[in-house]
Every structure is written in structure tokens, then in C-alpha cells.
């Protein structure tokens, strides 16, 4: 093992290189650009066997990825924001055709107004597209999850695309020490992709046939089942990855949750700040915790319930609005998961960080104190609060 100074983007590119991808088809977009720049340099220097298809749009990027994936190749791409929005049509096709593509998504706000900074509105808009979604907290996690993502995507019980989401700029452009595995260790963990079906002249098959009322529903039902298989596969992959790397992952990470009376649920880089604040409050005897789902799709509902059922008040942080919906997307999922419990925590939604608006430890402390109040009184005065906005 070696520790290298890398930004999140560089960590993702390095992981894709060690994963020996056959095809990268991508289009640059801020703040993902460094991923494709780094990868094209690996190609230019002959460090990889990868075919790099430098396409003319993100729509074509994912289209080329789907074509490549159907041949049986291991495929990687990366995008962000408007680029992801342009891929939207192809995202449903990639998952419907069961293409185990891995995509790094540098999460960034969507226009309008145009803004290049980080929030989750891009990927949250694609949450029903049939992609597995992982959200990471820092460059180390970006590296580790990119490698694990190929194993999960290509598993015979899954065969679905995976997005590894990293907060624009906060993770993509922050340099940290990243503990990287040896090339050999990655190769041993991640063997060559073995496709179940592929475009093969020796065994001709038709992909992307027209399915009417008589078959479409069955295809979608099978896709639902594949999503249900994800968590078992993910747990197995994470166990094996821990043996190789010493770093353990899963559907989520919990801090202080065993005795928490008030908790924060958040994804991505905010979790680090939240944990730090929670630690400070716990040293003062406050019973607070942080639950950080790594896995957002499929949503680990049972595990989230188990972690939250004894908590009195929960603040769910959403870094994207879901305009017109009762809550942001993550909060909606937490609420709908918890509805199966007879005793439920009080919940409120915190919309924050839109367009890259900074979030400070003091902001999170304010929210946790509010949650502690609710834990004591049982009264939720404000179901949705907009944190850090001028009103």
C-alpha cells in the first residue's frame, strides 16, 4: 500500500485505471474534467490497454458506453450536472439493457441559474433511472468505492450500472492522502468481467428488442429484483475489500447512533463535518449521532430503520430541492422507510448547500440543538428548514 496525494477526481481516475477498464467514453464538464484528463494521459502514455472514446456529448458518451458494455467489455465514464441531465435518456437504457457500467459523478447544481458548484440536484433527478447510487465522503472513499463498484455492477445477480457520486469541488478538487492498493491487489480483487450475454458473432443475440404490453412489465420486474439483490452482493464485496484494504464499507456508516436521541442523516462530504460536530456535542454529554448512507439506491430501508428506530428526533439533510414534493429526496426515502415502524422518530428536513453554498460546523450544531429540543418536547415546529439561505 502507498499513500498518494490526490484529489477526488484523481482518485477516481486512478481507481478506474487499476480496474483495467476496456473502454472509457466521456465528455469533459466541470468539476469532473480532471477524471477524463487524467485518463486520457494514461492512454497517451501507454499505461493502459483502454480504448478512450473522446465523444462529442454526454449523450453519445453513455451511448458508446452501452454499445461497449454489450460487447462484454468493462466500461467506465464520468460526468456532472448538465452532462448527467443530457445522459438522462440513456441512463434508463443502460440499466434496462443491464449494462454494468461504472460512472463517476461529480455532483453539481443544475441550471438555471447556471452554477458550477456542488449540490446533489443532478443525480437526485435520476434517482429512478435504475442506477445503483453510492455517495462518498472524501477522496479515499471515492477511490475505494470506484473499485468496489465494478464488482457490484458486474455480479451475475446484479448486472446493473453504478454511479459513484462525489461532491463537486469539495471532494473532486480537494487533495488528501489516499491510501491506494497495489495494481496486483486490485487485479486479484477484481478479475476480468465475465458477461452473461454479449454481442458475439459465434452466438448471435438480439439486444434492445421491442417489448409491448405483453413483456415490458416482466422485464421491469426482473430489474426490480436485481436491485433487491444489490445489498447482499454489496455486503459480500465490502467484506472482501476489507480483507484486501483494511477499510470496511457497507450500506451506511453510523456514528454515535447506538444511544443517540437526536441524529443527522446526510450523504456525501457533509457527513465528515456532521461527525465532528456530533463528537464535540457528545463530549458535552449530548446524545447525538450521524447516519451516513453510502448506498442511496437501492435505499437500505431496513438498515436505516434499525439504526433510527430508537432515536427521538432526526434531521435529514438534502443537498437538493425536490420542488413541489413534501420533502427533499433523501428525507422522503427516510420517512417512507420509517412508516413501517409503530414507534417512529420525529423527522424534519434540512435543505442546504444549494449551488455550493457552504455549510459550517455551527450550522450543523444549530440543527442538532434543534433536534435535541424536539427530542425533549416532541414538537416539530418547522418540517422543512432552509439552512443558510437569505430570506
Amino acid at each position: 500500500m502507498t499513500i498518494l496525494g490526490m484529489t477526488g477526481d484523481e482518485a477516481v481516475a486512478h481507481a478506474a485505471k487499476q480496474s483495467k477498464v476496456d473502454i472509457v467514453a466521456a465528455y469533459p464538464i466541470t468539476p469532473q474534467t480532471i477524471i477524463v484528463e487524467r485518463f486520457s494521459k494514461y492512454v497517451a502514455d501507454g499505461e493502459v490497454h483502454t480504448g478512450y472514446v473522446c465523444v462529442e456529448s454526454e449523450h453519445s458518451a453513455l451511448s458508446a458506453c452501452v454499445g461497449a458494455s454489450l460487447t462484454g467489455a468493462r466500461v467506465f465514464t464520468a460526468t456532472s450536472s448538465q452532462g448527467l441531465a443530457l445522459m438522462h435518456e440513456m441512463m434508463y437504457i443502460a440499466s434496462g439493457l443491464r449494462c454494468p457500467i461504472v460512472m463517476g459523478v461529480a455532483n453539481r447544481a443544475l441550471s438555471a441559474p447556471i452554477n458550477i458548484h456542488g449540490d446533489h440536484s443532478d443525480m437526485m433527478g435520476s434517482r429512478d433511472s435504475g442506477w445503483i447510487q453510492i455517495y462518498v465522503e472524501n477522496p479515499q472513499e471515492a477511490y475505494d468505492w470506484t473499485i468496489q463498484a465494478f464488482r457490484i455492477a458486474e455480479d451475475k445477480d446484479v448486472q446493473l450500472p453504478v454511479s459513484v457520486n462525489l461532491d463537486g469541488f469539495i471532494i473532486t478538487h480537494s487533495m488528501e492522502g489516499v491510501d491506494v492498493l497495489d495494481d496486483l491487489a486490485v487485479s486479484q480483487f477484481l478479475s476480468i468481467r465475465e458477461p452473461i450475454f454479449k454481442l458475439d458473432p459465434k452466438n448471435p443475440l438480439t439486444f434492445g428488442a421491442l417489448c409491448f404490453t405483453d413483456y415490458y412489465f416482466e422485464f421491469k420486474r426482473q430489474q426490480t429484483e436485481a436491485m433487491r439483490n444489490v445489498q447482499t452482493v454489496l455486503d459480500k464485496v465490502c467484506r472482501e475489500y476489507k480483507d484486501v484494504s483494511g477499510r470496511g464499507y457497507g450500506a451506511f456508516e453510523a456514528y454515535g447512533m447506538e444511544d443517540a436521541e437526536a441524529a443527522v442523516v446526510c450523504i456525501g462530504s457533509t457527513a465528515g463535518t456532521a461527525r465532528d460536530v456530533a463528537w464535540k456535542l457528545r463530549t458535552r454529554g449530548k446524545k447525538v449521532g450521524v447516519l451516513k448512507p453510502w448506498l442511496y439506491r437501492p435505499f437500505p430501508a431496513e438498515e436505516v430503520n434499525a439504526a433510527l428506530k430508537h432515536v427521538k428526533a432526526v434531521a435529514v439533510f438534502d443537498k437538493a430541492g425536490s420542488l413541489g414534493a413534501p420533502y427533499g429526496a433523501l428525507c422522503t426515502d427516510v420517512v417512507s422507510s420509517l412508516h413501517t415502524l409503530e414507534q417512529r422518530p420525529k423527522i424534519f428536513n434540512v435543505i442546504y448547500g444549494l449551488g455550493g453554498r457552504d455549510i459550517q460546523p455551527s450550522d450543523i450544531e444549530l440543527v442538532l440543538n434543534k433536534a435535541l429540543d424536539i427530542a425533549e418536547t416532541g414538537l416539530v415546529k418547522e418540517e422543512t428548514m432552509f439552512l443558510g439561505v437569505r430570506e
Partner: protein, 306 residues
């Protein structure tokens, strides 16, 4: 050029598909399969041929075939071509696989032109065949960038003020040739040998090649379905659809027409131009189309002379 006897009797495009009677696409697909030189993958855009030949759980294709979406056949083909090459670099022995992308004029002239342009510029080794029936026939005969001037479609209807589509057909071959590719050609299934020869040429080129093949549509052109091949022969005999190729920078006319016919002969047998003949004979519009045909022919002659 091949003789009929030399053509393979293998039928990689199976009968039993659901294309309309008289549709040119079934004939073109079958001819395309007769021109193959080895292991081949077909990438299809959404369109008539796609929806009528692969209704699950049936398929007409006895070779690997994939449909992804409407506007991206060239992009998907890019991925397929490069993936086989990349896998070969890590030791997978597939041998050479030819890749053919097939799309209609909607998927080529209009919504797919960006993906096509990108793929041509990048130079992937594949053949792109546009099956050009001059409108969005699959969705019910809406105008495309390939629909000819004056044609009545459901989105360029012949009205009391506007006599059909006001715009003219795009120059697809000119656009493709401007990318500096080695091979681009037009074809008509009325001249099977010319078409099959061109498909083979397109496959043999080391890089991208494009063929725009005119496909008769009894439903959209509104002609007798028994006379489909006659329609696309008339298109050539009237110089409405000149048959030529662009090869390594040189243009060449491929068919010599012994007896030139006025474009009116082509127009008057199709319902899509019926409003130019009844209730009023629109000599002005027909003359305008004839002038355009002549100008286009002279333009191509000039290109061929260089």
C-alpha cells in the same frame, strides 16, 4: 460487382418480420446481409426497421444485433468498434468484427446528425447505412430534413396556402464527405448490384463509410405497394435521386441513365405529391422542383469532373 449466382444463399435477415407490404427496408436489409464479408454486428437506431424486425420474443436477425435509442446509432457503434479493439489488446481473440450502424432519415439527417458527425470525425472503422424513406414513417409520416420540397406529410401538410414542405432535402453525402471520410455513396434498391457493391466497399474501407439508400414507403409516399422498386428506379431515371459515390476525395457517378425522364413522372405516381396535380395543376411548384433537380444534377456532374 458480383453476379446473382455469386451472391450468398445465406439469409441472415429472416422472413416473418412485420414490415409493411412493399416496404423497401426488408429488401434493403436482405441485400445488406448479402454483402457481408465476415463476422458482423448490427447496431440499429429506433425506427421502422427496428420495431418491425425485433418484436420480443422474435427477431429477424441471425447475427448479433443491438438497438439502443433513436439518435445515437453512430455513438453506440463507436463503443462497439472500440470495445472489440480494446479487448483484443488484452488478449481476447474475437478476430475482426465488422460493425454496421443502420438508421432511418430521422435518426440520421435530424436527431442523429450530431452523433454521426462525432463518429465520422473520430474515424471509427464502421459502416453507417441511412435507410432513407424521406420522412418519419414509423411515427406516422412526419416531415424530416430529408423530406423533399412539396411533399405532403402530417407535419408539413399540403394546405390551401402552403403546398407541402417548403424546405429542400439536406445534402447528407456532402455533409459526410466534408468530414474527410474515405467513402460515402447514395444507392437505390432498384439497382441491387450497385447497392451490394457499395456496402462491401463501405466495409472494406479502413475507417467510417456512409451509404444513403433510398427506401420506398407505400404508406408515406402513397403509391401502390406492388410498385415500390419502380418508384426508386424512377427516382434515379428522373435524376431526382442521383446515384454517385465519394471515394478518397473523388466523386463518381455510378449509373448511366439512357432515357432521362422529367421529375413529374416520379411525382405524379405518389400521393404525397398528389396536391400538385389535383384539384389544380401546380406547374409553378413542379417547375421549381425540376429546376432544383437539374441544378443538383449539374452540381454533382461538376463534382465528378474535378
Amino acid at each position: 460487382m458480383v453476379t446473382l449466382k455469386e451472391l450468398t444463399t445465406d439469409e441472415l435477415f429472416a422472413s416473418g418480420h412485420r414490415l409493411c407490404a412493399g416496404c423497401g427496408e426488408g429488401t434493403i436489409n436482405r441485400m445488406t446481409m448479402k454483402a457481408l464479408r465476415g463476422p458482423t454486428v448490427i447496431v440499429a437506431a429506433t425506427g421502422c426497421s427496428e420495431v418491425a424486425t425485433t418484436i420480443y420474443p422474435y427477431t429477424s436477425w441471425r447475427l448479433p444485433w443491438a438497438h439502443v435509442a433513436f439518435e445515437n446509432a453512430a455513438a453506440v457503434a463507436s463503443g462497439v468498434v472500440e470495445a472489440y479493439k480494446a479487448m483484443a489488446r488484452r488478449g481476447v481473440e474475437n478476430g475482426h468484427v465488422d460493425v454496421i450502424a443502420m438508421a432511418g432519415d430521422g435518426g440520421t439527417y435530424d436527431i442523429g446528425i450530431q452523433a454521426l458527425s462525432g463518429a465520422l470525425e473520430r474515424g471509427h472503422d464502421f459502416l453507417y447505412i441511412c435507410i432513407d424513406n424521406e420522412a418519419y414513417m414509423n411515427t406516422g409520416i412526419q416531415r424530416s430534413g430529408s423530406t423533399p420540397h412539396g411533399a405532403d406529410t402530417t407535419t408539413s401538410p399540403a394546405g390551401s396556402v402552403i403546398p407541402g414542405k417548403p424546405e429542400w432535402k439536406k445534402d447528407l453525402i456532402g455533409i459526410c464527405a466534408a468530414h474527410g471520410i474515405e467513402y460515402a455513396a447514395t444507392a437505390s434498391p432498384a439497382y441491387w448490384n450497385d447497392y451490394i457493391t457499395k456496402v462491401r466497399k463501405g466495409l472494406e474501407v479502413n475507417g467510417p463509410a456512409v451509404i444513403d439508400v433510398l427506401s420506398p414507403c407505400p404508406l408515406g409516399w402513397r403509391h401502390d405497394s406492388a410498385r415500390s422498386i419502380e418508384m426508386v428506379r424512377l427516382a434515379v431515371e428522373t435524376r431526382y435521386f442521383p446515384i454517385y459515390e465519394f471515394e478518397r476525395g473523388k466523386y463518381r457517378l455510378n449509373l448511366s441513365i439512357s432515357k432521362l425522364k422529367p421529375v413529374e413522372e416520379f411525382l405524379k405516381v405518389q400521393g404525397r405529391f398528389g396536391h400538385l396535380f389535383k384539384p389544380t395543376y401546380r406547374k409553378d411548384v413542379i417547375d421549381e422542383i425540376q429546376q432544383n433537380v437539374d441544378a443538383n444534377w449539374n452540381r454533382i456532374l461538376k463534382l465528378c469532373a474535378n
